[in-house]
């Protein structure tokens, strides 16, 4: 495998946008050859580093330029193998199911990286996968009088279009979201989950795309103000309407098992509410619920936190404290009474379990 062209045609578009070319999967030998070459200093490696640096500086300005180390190559190889699962060759006669499972297993091993040691490493991994969740593929179906031809992201040959009028050739183009398609298959979903686990920031920033498999187990990173600020900025631009339901569901899953990071997740949800309260034109819970009923738990979480006095920092003074408390009352009114009671019990149980653990 030519490392420079692979970087140019696969890794760089994945990090910067553009056409991502997928060929065969990356096996152990190919990975070894990639690691052996110093790709960082190649022309494509420099351009990839520039693109990644722009991404990480957009998250927090102090982030250094990411380097293309072995972990990065492993992560990219895992993504390539994930995308290969949607390649037409993966369905060919010469591909056995057992080999395909072997590929997924190997790719999961590739993605099983140790947790990032710093927030800069966190951002560096995310910069590789920046466009993973907005990848699309153009599928073309060519129908003619004797049958049809399906092309999944492949270049269209000329032959099926010959004598188009005579053969009654019709073409149908359809854009498919690759991540959503991958999530349909349980094995591929396992690999996707492993990749997201290797890059926790990607998981946090693309939580709406990961619904209903979104997991807040990496919530501990939200304790870092820079990370929290970057995620909040992304959530605010996406809008509460989009993010509220998966976020509250994931936070409730953590609270339900009193799992690590539950209190951080709750604090983060409350933080998002406070950002909404401080907005120039805050949206009222009742108005939002009228548009989208799935946000009910999102407001119920804040109302439950308010009952336990965990909805705002204790040093907030009037008149702001009154505004926040009024908002909490509005959240409680908008939510079902029984649901707020349930969630308040969950939060209480989560806190007491944590104190006992101490």
């Amino acid at each position: 495998m030519n490392g420079a062209s692979w970087l140019e045609e696969f890794a760089l578009p994945l990090a910067r946008g553009g056409p991502v070319r997928v060929r065969g999967p990356v096996n152990a030998r190919a990975l070894k050859s990639l690691v052996a070459v110093d790709l960082q200093e190649s022309e494509a490696g420099r351009r990839l580093a520039d693109a990644r640096h722009q991404t990480v500086r957009g998250l927090w300005s102090s982030a250094p330029e990411p380097i293309l180390d072995e972990d990065s190559l492993r992560l990219l190889a895992a993504v390539q193998n994930l995308l290969f699962l949607g390649h037409p060759s993966a369905d060919s006669t010469f591909v056995r199911d057992s080999t395909l499972h072997k590929l997924i297993e190997f790719s999961c091993q590739l993605a099983a990286l140790p947790d990032p040691t710093s927030k800069d490493e966190l951002a560096a991994r995310h910069s590789l996968l920046l466009h993973l969740f907005d990848l699309e593929r153009e599928d073309v179906t060519v129908r003619f009088w004797a049958g049809s031809l399906q092309l999944k992201g492949e270049s269209t040959p000329k032959k099926p279009y010959l004598f188009a009028k005579l053969r009654r050739v019709r073409e149908e183009r359809n854009r498919v979201k690759v991540s959503a398609e991958v999530a349909q298959d349980p094995d591929a979903r396992t690999l996707l989950a492993a990749i997201v686990k290797a890059s926790p920031l990607t998981g946090l920033l693309w939580s709406e795309s990961l619904e209903p498999f979104f997991d807040l187990s990496s919530a501990k990173w939200l304790r870092d103000p820079d990370v929290a600020r970057a995620v909040v900025e992304h959530f605010s631009s996406a809008g509460i309407e989009k993010i509220g339901a998966p976020l509250s569901e994931a936070a409730l899953a953590l609270l339900n098992g009193a799992r690590p990071g539950a209190d951080t997740a709750l604090a983060f949800v409350c933080h998002l509410h406070l950002i909404e309260v401080l907005a120039s034109q805050p949206k009222l819970p009742r108005a939002l619920l009228a548009e989208q009923d799935s946000l009910r738990d999102f407001f119920a979480l804040f109302a439950a936190a308010a009952r336990l006095g965990r909805h705002r920092p204790s040093d907030v003074t009037p008149p702001l404290s009154k505004v926040i408390d009024d908002y909490a009352v509005a959240c409680e009114r908008a939510s079902a009474q029984g649901r707020v009671d349930q969630i308040a019990d969950l939060v209480r149980a989560g806190i007491s379990a944590k104190e006992e653990g101490k």
């Binding site: 991502v20 991404t55 060759s89 591909v95 190997f106 990848l135």
Partner: protein
């Protein structure tokens, strides 16, 4: 055949559909399938009672279709804006025994119900021929178009319904009378003698066709703001006279009846030419619809009476003789009787100044003055260039502009130089009507001696825009010293050839 759509499903077998913001599967078009024309009427009746037809008017089609078993059915198709609208359509369709579908092209799938809250998707496409392929729970129905029934034709062909209950007593307001041409003079005279104010126009309904007989009869259309009960009772029983109420702009329906559809909600269907420029009179007595081109130009009914009739009040005892004479005489417009309107110095209090004529020699002063004018004055002032100079007009008053020759509004939309008034001292509205100051027309007496001129209000321009000179605006691009991220291209996966054995060597792959 149909599969319920699941939450967050992104791929669908049905063509041309996609989930909306609520996740409900929706196509570009909606279709309602109904078994008979009376159900079509029932559907529109319920829909128009609830909301306006504007919601579905875009690409609305009513078509008679033939199914596989040669059964004639009706399909209503329209463009869908949102799932909320489609919910309403589906509910109404179910009420009248129909079914709602959504989709595009020729493939339409059953709209959502309680068993599939996000709608249905197809297990596979049918290849049957036909103009519509409607996928229901029990199978696909292929329908071929037989004919299209325009909505306007449906509205005009429906018979009026009698309104139950007793008619209201006392004076009734805003009524219209349709009087046969032969009775016109008698009715006009009767109304005048009874001191009932009215406006009238002679109208000629459209001919039905080349073989409908001789030319259509002319009618006198009268608008009566207040019709006393006694007169109303007389006209109700009089052959050749029909009483109408206005149920929507341009729609008159015979009193005591209503159209099956709420006509006020059907305005959108009649909003395009030529329907837009017509007046429709629904008669229950004759079971017909008279279509009149344009909006009748109404004039005070007194003006249509013969001269001696309007100038002398007939004694009550002489009514019968007078009426007989009028019936025998043919209907013709009133004899002209006119008094010249002229300007004369006004003796009363000065009126508010609303316009000024700035001579061309003072236009530069006006330009300089613009810098000092307050924003509200500059904003409301309109200007038009005339031979004599710039005519600046502002409805609310132009006291802040001390230039040129000032004008006051001596009658509605009639302007005269300050200090002058119109003679004779008739009511201002009468003078305004007489001078033809209607619609967008503005009548200006530029001087006491010259005849008035008419200006079109639409040709005025805002003063601010007129006086602003062209300003060159230079385009600037961002400085390169600030690093901004690249505008990323859309990320698209392209699957290149992976060879015949793409997983060759994968079996032995192991991380070292």
């Amino acid at each position: 055949m149909l599969e319920p759509v699941s939450l967050h499903q992104t791929r669908f077998n049905a063509p041309g559909v996609q989930p909306d913001s609520r996740g409900i599967l929706l196509g570009r078009q909606g279709v309602v399938l109904l078994a008979s024309i009376d159900r079509v009427v029932g559907f529109f009746r319920l829909f128009c009672d609830e909301t306006s037809l504007e919601d579905i008017h875009s690409r609305l089609k009513i078509e008679q279709v033939r199914g596989a078993l040669d059964a004639r059915q009706f399909v209503i198709s329209f463009q869908v804006g949102s799932s909320y609208l489609m919910d309403r359509v589906s509910r109404i369709a179910a009420t009248v025994g129909g079914a709602a579908f959504t989709g595009s092209g020729k493939h339409f799938i059953l709209y959502r119900d309680r068993y599939a809250p996000l709608g249905y998707d197809l297990a596979g496409l049918e290849t049957a021929s036909g103009d519509y392929l409607l996928y229901g729970k029990t199978g696909a129905l292929s329908c071929s178009r037989v004919k299209e029934i325009p909505f306007t034709q449906l509205v005009l062909s429906l018979e009026l319904l009698a309104v139950p209950g007793l008619p209201p007593r006392g004076v009734e307001r805003d009524l219209w009378l349709l009087v046969r041409e032969g009775l016109a003079e008698s009715v006009l005279g009767y109304l005048w003698r009874s001191a009932v104010p009215a406006e009238a126009a002679l109208v000629e309904p459209q001919e039905k066709g080349s073989f409908s007989g001789a030319t259509s009869p002319k009618w006198l259309l009268l608008h009566v703001p207040e019709l006393p009960e006694r007169v109303r009772a007389l006209f109700s029983a009089m052959p050749g006279v029909e009483i109408f109420t206005q149920q929507a702009p341009r729609f008159l329906v015979q009193r005591g009846h209503r159209h099956p559809l709420r006509l006020a909600a059907c305005g959108a269907a009649f909003g395009e030419p030529p329907e837009r420029d017509r007046t429709y009179i629904f008669s229950a007595t004759r079971k017909s619809v008279d279509v009149i081109e344009g909006v009748p130009a109404l004039v005070p009914s007194g003006d249509l009476l013969r001269g001696e009739q309007s100038l002398t009040r007939t004694p009550v005892g002489a009514l019968a003789a007078s009426n007989a004479a009028l019936v025998s005489s043919s209907f013709r417009p009133a004899q002209p009787y006119s008094v010249a309107v002229k300007l004369e110095p006004s003796q009363g209090l000065p009126l508010a100044q609303v316009a000024t004529l700035v001579p061309w020699s003072q236009v530069d002063w006006l330009k300089r003055l613009v810098y000092l004018l307050p924003a509200p004055l500059l904003g409301g002032a309109m200007v038009m260039a005339l031979d004599e100079g710039l005519f600046v007009w502002r409805r609310e008053g132009i006291e802040g502009l001390p230039l040129g020759k000032l004008f006051a509004e001596v009658a509605p939309r009639v302007l005269a130089p300050l200090g002058f008034g119109l003679s004779p001292h008739a009511p201002p509205q009468v003078l305004s009507d007489y001078l033809g100051a209607r619609d967008s027309k503005l009548i200006i007496f530029l001087s006491a001696m010259a005849p008035p001129v008419a200006l079109d209000e639409t040709e005025f321009e805002p003063l601010g825009r007129r006086v602003l000179a062209n300003l060159e605006v230079a385009a600037r691009s961002p400085d390169s010293r600030l690093i901004v991220p690249d505008r990323s291209e859309p990320s698209t996966v392209i699957n290149d050839s992976a060879g015949i054995f793409p997983l060759w060597g994968m079996r032995g792959s192991k991380l070292t």
